[in-house]
Amino acid sequence: MNTRLPHFSRREVIRSLVGSSLLLPGLVSNLLAEDVAPDPLSPKQPHFPAKAKRVIFIFSNGGVSHMDTFDHKPKLFAADGKTMGIGGGLSNQQRRLLKPGWEFKPGGKCGTMVSDLFPHLRDCMDDVCLIKSMKSDDNEHYQATLGIHTGSFFFSRPSIGSWISYGLGTVNQNLPSFVAISAGSPYAGTQIFNNDFLPAYHQGVRVVPGKEPIANLDRRTKQSSVQELELGLAGALNQRHLQARGQDSELAARIRTFETAFYMQTEAREVFDLGKESDDTLALYGMKRGQTEGFGWPCLVARRLVERGVRFVELVDGSSSHNWDQHGDMAEHAKHAKNLDQPVAGLLKDLKKRGMLEDTLVVWTTEFGRTPGVDGDKGRGHHSACYSSWLAGAGVKAGTSYGSTDDIGAAVAENRVHVHDFHATILHLLGMDHEKLTFRHGGRDYRLTDVHGNVVQALLA
C-alpha cells in the first residue's frame, strides 16, 4: 500500500477506546486476542507476479462516440453527407454519414490522436494505451453495460470488481474491497457492481457523492460515547456467549465486524473528507473546495480509496437517464466530455506524481460506440461493432494505440478486442489467469470470461 496518511490499526482503535474507559474491563484483552476466523477478504497471492495491485475502472454510460473522441477517421470528415448502407450489425440500414464534430490533434510525445473533446486527456497520452478496436455483442445499453461489467449480456453474473476482490482479497480490512462511486443509477441497475453468486463480501459498496456517501455510515446516536457504551455491552455479552460455545470462528468473525464498522464510521468518513487535500491537488482535478458535484469528487476519492488499499474502485460517469447517448445532437457530447476530461486527466497526473501509477491500473471504457451514420438530425445511434477504450498505468504499454477500424469507423479492421479479451487482459495485468479464476456455482465452474477471452499480449508492457 502506498500511503501518506497516518493509519490506525484495529488494535490502536480498540486501545483508544480503552483510553476513554468506556469499554468494560475484561473485554479489551478478548478483542485484542488473535482473530480466530480466517478472513475471506485477506490478501491472496495472484497466480503469477504482476505489477498492477489495484484498479480504478471508469465507466462512461450511454455509449461514447469513438469517431468523435479517440478514433481519428479523416475519411469520415471527407465523406460527410454521403449515404450508404452500413455494416456492423446495422443490417440493411441506409444512413447519411455524419462527420466527426471535433478536430483531432496529436497528444504527448507519442502523438496519439485525440479530439478536441478531451484536451486534458490528450496531454496524458504518453501514459495511455489506447484500444481502438473494442467489440461488444449487443446494441442495447442494458445488455452492453451488463456485458462490459460481467462478461454476460443477458444473465446477471458477478461484476469484474467482485471477481477481482474474490481473486485478490484486500489489504485494508476497515474498508470494503470493492467500491463503486455512482451518483445516479446506471443501465442494468445495481447488477453491474453486484457479487451475484460470489460471497457477499465481494459486492461493490455503492458510494453516492453527497452527505452520506455510504448507507448507514453516519452514527445515528447523537453521542459517540453512547454508541461506544452499546458496543461495550454487546461485546461483553458476546464474549460470554462465545466462550460458552467453544470459540466458534463464525461467531468471532461477526463480533469483529462491529469493530470494523465502528472504525469505518471514522475511517471511511475520513476518506470522503477532502479538507486536507491541497489547493493544487483540487485544481488538478478541476475542483473547487467543498464541491461534490461533477466528476472531480469521484476521481479524487478514488485516489484516496486506492491509497488506503481498496482493491477495485469503479467510477460511473453518468446514469441511465443522463449520459452520452446522443441520438439527437452530437454537440451534447461536449458537455459530458467537459465533465470527464480534466478530472480523469487530473487523476492520471496525480497518481503518476505520487508514484502510484506504477502499481495502479486505470481503465476507461463505455458500453459501445456510435454509428458513423446520422441518427435523428445530428446525432448518432448505438454501435457495438466497434468502439474505443483505454488502459493506463501498471503493466500496460503506455503511449501506444492498438487495433483499428475501417475508414468510417463502422467495423473493426484489425486486432479486434472483444469484451472478453478486454477482461482477460485486465485480469492478466493483475496477475490472474482468466481461465483459472473460477467459482463453482450450480454445478458449474464459472469465469468472468465465460468460455471465451484471450489476453491481448500487445497491450502489455
Partner: protein
Amino acid sequence: MNRSRLALLGLSACLLAPGFSSRVLAADAVFLRALNLNGPALEIDGRKWEGSNAAKLVVSGKVFENQAVALKPTTDPARARMIRSSVWGSKVDVSVGGLPSAECQIVVYVWEDNHTEQFDLLVNDKPVVEKLHSGAGGSWKRLGPWRATPVDGTVKVSARTPSHGAVNLSGIEIWTGEGTIPGVTSAAFVTELTADHAAFFESKVRPVLVEHCYECHSSTAKKLKGGLMLDSRAGIIKGGDNGQVILPGQPESSMLIQSVRHADPDLAMPPKKKIPDLAIADLEAWVRMGAPDPRTENTVAAAASKSAIDWNKGRQWWSFRSLAKPSSPVVKQTRWPVSDLDRFVLARLEKEGLKPAADAEKRVLIRRATFDLTGLPPTPAEIDAFLADKSSKAFTKVVDRLLASPHYGERWGRHWLDVVRYADTAGDNSDFPIPQMRRYRDWVIHAFNRDLPYDQFIREQLAGDLLPSDNADDAKERLVATGYIANARRFGSRVDDYPQHLTIEDTIDNLGRAFLGLTVSCARCHDHKFDPIPTADYYALYGFFQSTRYPWPGIELEQKQRDLVPLVEPARRTEANSAIKAHDTEKRRLEKETQKLKDSLKDKTGDEKKSVEAKIADAEKAVKEFTAKPLPFELAYAVAEAGKAVNAAIQIKGDPAKPGDVVGRRFLTILGGQELAPDDQTSGRLHLANRLSDPANPLTARVMANRIWLHHFGKGLVPTPNDFGKQGKTPTHPELLDWLANRFIESGWSIKDLHRTIMLSRTYQLAGVRSEEATTRDPNNELLSSFPRRRLDAESLRDAMLVLGGNMDTTPAGAHPFPPQSEWKFTQHNPFKAVYDSKRRSVYLMTQRIQRHPYLAIFDGADPSASTPVRTTSTTPLQALFLLNDPFVHGQSREFANRIVASAKDEPGRIQFAYRSALGRAAERTEIEQCRSFLRNARVQLAESRTALDQLEAEAWQSMVRALLRLNEFVYVD
C-alpha cells in the same frame, strides 16, 4: 487433363455467367414470366422482366435497395440492379397469380448485402432449400429450378429465416415445359454414378478431402467441428451445423467452395492455410457435376447411433436409481433412538465412534422449533407454557401448534420462493412491475399452510390451467399457480425479435433445478458434460414451453401488459377473453377518433376551431374514463396454451438462428423419456407435470425431502440441493434420504408430515454444544452428533425485530403500491425502481430483479434472478453498520424499549422481559447487573450531552435494546 475434366470446364464457362446463352434448344424450357420484386420492369438476357407493380404479384416483406454493394461474382448492369433491390425479412412471401394450370419451373434470385444469413426456401409451402447460407456481403445466387403446379393459377415462393434473420429476395423467373432452363443446372446430387464420376472423385476429390478436411470433419476426427462430416456421401448431403455445404451444380452457392476459397474470413477453411488453387478448381468441378460420390458407408448414421452418452453408466448414478427400501439399521445404543431416522444417524455415528450430544434444553428447543417453522421468535407466554407442560407430548403439541399457524406458510413458502427465484418484476431492461405476481406468492404460502400434497403442488404450478377442478375457486387457484412458469425472467427491450428462447431457457433451468435437482439447461448448447442429458432432451422439454403462451409484462418497446389470463372459472374464460378483446377494440376506436379530431384541427380557425377543441377535450376525457374503467374480472399473471402446439427444433449451439432436427415433446430420457401421446393436442404441460410428480421418478421425492431436511438442519443430506448430478455432492446419509423420500410419498406427499417425522426425532432435539472429539473428527458436523447452530436469515432477523417492536402489520398483504399501468413509461433509461416501506413480514416485501432490495442485498437475501437453494451466510461490516445506524433498527429499538418499560415497574423485571422476548430465556443475575450498570452509564452520558430529562430514561432503554439486537445470541439459533 482427362476428357471429363475438359467437358466440365466447357460447361463451367456457361455457368459462371448464368443466362449467358439465350439460344433456345429444342429440349429447353419456355420462358413465361420474370419478376423484379423491388424495382422497375427491365430486360435481362434479352428477356422482359416485370417490375414490382406487375399484375397479380403480391409481396410481403420490407423493401431494401443498396446499389453500392459490389456483387460477387460480378454480372451485367441490369441483373445487378435487379439483384441489389430486394424485399427482406425473416418471413418473406411472394405469390404470383394468373398462371396457366400446367406444372412450371421456378428460379429464385437471392443476395446478401452485408452479413451471411441462413434461410429456407419454400415453393407452394414445400421446402425446397433448407438452411442455406446467403454468403458474404455481395454474394448472390440464382437458385432452382423447382417444379410447381399453380394452385388457382398462383404459385407461392416463401423464404424463412430462423427468428430475426433477414433474407433478401430479388427476383423470380417462371418457366414452363419439361426441358432445362438455360444457365441453370438441375439442383440435385448425382445418384447414378458413371465410371468417369467415380474416377474423378477418387483421383481429384477424395485425396483433397482426406488431406485437408478429415482432421476436423470426419468420423475419425479427434473433435468433430461444426457437426460436419465429409467422409461419407450422407455427410456431404446433410451438411453441418451451419446448413448445407454443397448445392449441387452451383459451386458459387456452395459453402464448401466459398470456404476453401477463403472468400469470407469467418468461413475460411482450412482456417490456417488455403489449399492449392488447382485443388479448389477440382472441388468446383465436382460440385458442378452434382457431387458424384461413390462412398457407401454412412458415417453420419454410425456416429448418431454411437451416442456420446453412456446410458447404462448414467443410470448407475445414485440419484437416477430407484428409491431403495433400506431396512432399519442395527445400533448398539438401542435406547437412544426414538425413530428409524435416529437409527440411521446413530448407526453412522457409532461406525465412526462418535456419541450423540446431550438433548437440548426445553427453552432452546422451543426457540429452535419456532424460528424453524414460523421464522419468528417464541413469545414469553409460549415459552412459559412449554416449560410448564411436563407431559411426554409437550413438544409434539408445540410442533402441531406451529404447523397450524398461518406464519408457517409465510416461512416455508419463502423457502420455495427462493427456489423458484420469485420476483415482483419481470427483469427485462426496464424491469417492469408485475402487480398480479403476488397472487402466486400468496398461492405458495397458502399451499404450505393447507399442506397441499407435493405432487399436486407440482401439477398445479406446471399445468394448473389444464387440470379439472370441482369448483370455481379451485380453478382460479390453479390458474394462479401457473404463475410459476409466467414468472420466468424477461430480457431486453425489443418486441419483434424478443429473445423468447432465453425466457424458455430460464423456465427449463429453473424447472430442472427446482423439481429434479438437475442442471438441465447445461444441455442447451451441447450435450450435458457430466450428466446423461443430451441436447435433444433439452429441446424435447422446450417444445412444452414453446407451445405455451406466456403473459407479456410490458417491456420498453411495448409498455402495456397483454396475454394475461382472466381470473374466472374455465367455463367463463372464452367469454372473458372476448370481453378483453372488445375492451381493447373500443379503446383503440376511441383513441382513433380523438386522433382524427386532432388531425382535423390543422385547417380550422375561429369558432370552428374552438368547437373542435372542445370535441377533442371530450374525446380525450372519454378515453381516460374508459381506460380507468376496470374489467369486470381480475387478470392473472399466468400462462395459457399457445395458439398452436408444436415440437421444437434443436438450436445448434443454443443459437435460435440455427435450427437443427425437430424433437418430439417428451420427458428426460434418463428418467424414462415418456413421449407425449400422439393424439394429445395440448402443449403437453400436464404430461410433463405428471412425469415430474410420478412416484416412480427417483429424483422428485429425494430432492424435496432433502430441501425440507436442509431448512431444519441448515444443510441438506445432499449438500447441493439443486444439483443431484455428477457435479453435485453425494448424500452424507443415502439410506436416510431414501427412507425420508419413501415416507414422503407414502404419506401422500405431505410436507407437514415430513416436518413431524424430522422434528420429533431425537436427532432434531440434540443440544448444539459440540464435544471436542466431534469437533476434531467431524469438523463440518456431517454426522450430526449435535444440532448445528444457525444464523437467522434476512427475513427472520427483520421479522424478529418487528415482533419485538410489537408493531408488525399482520393484516393480509394487499397489492404493492405500484404506479397505475396507465402511467407505465419505463425504459432502460428510466427503469422501474422502488422500495416500498412496510411493517409486514419480509416475505411480503416488493422484490425487484434488477435492483436488489437494499436490506436483502446486505443480509444475503435470495437471488431474484436465479434459483437460490441455500442462503449464503456472509459476515460483513455493512451488516454491522446496518445494525449500528439504520433508521429501521433505531425505530424498532424505540418500540421495543417502550414495551419493555411498560412490562414491569422495576428494572430487573424489565430486563427479564427484554431477555425473554429477544433471547428466549431468563437473564442471569450477572447479566442483570451488567445491564443495570450499562443503564446507569448511559444515563450519565445522555445527561452530559443534554438529553431532555423526559427523554433520558426512554433513550437509555433504547440504547440497551440496540446492544441486545447486535448480540450473536439474538441472531443465532442454537
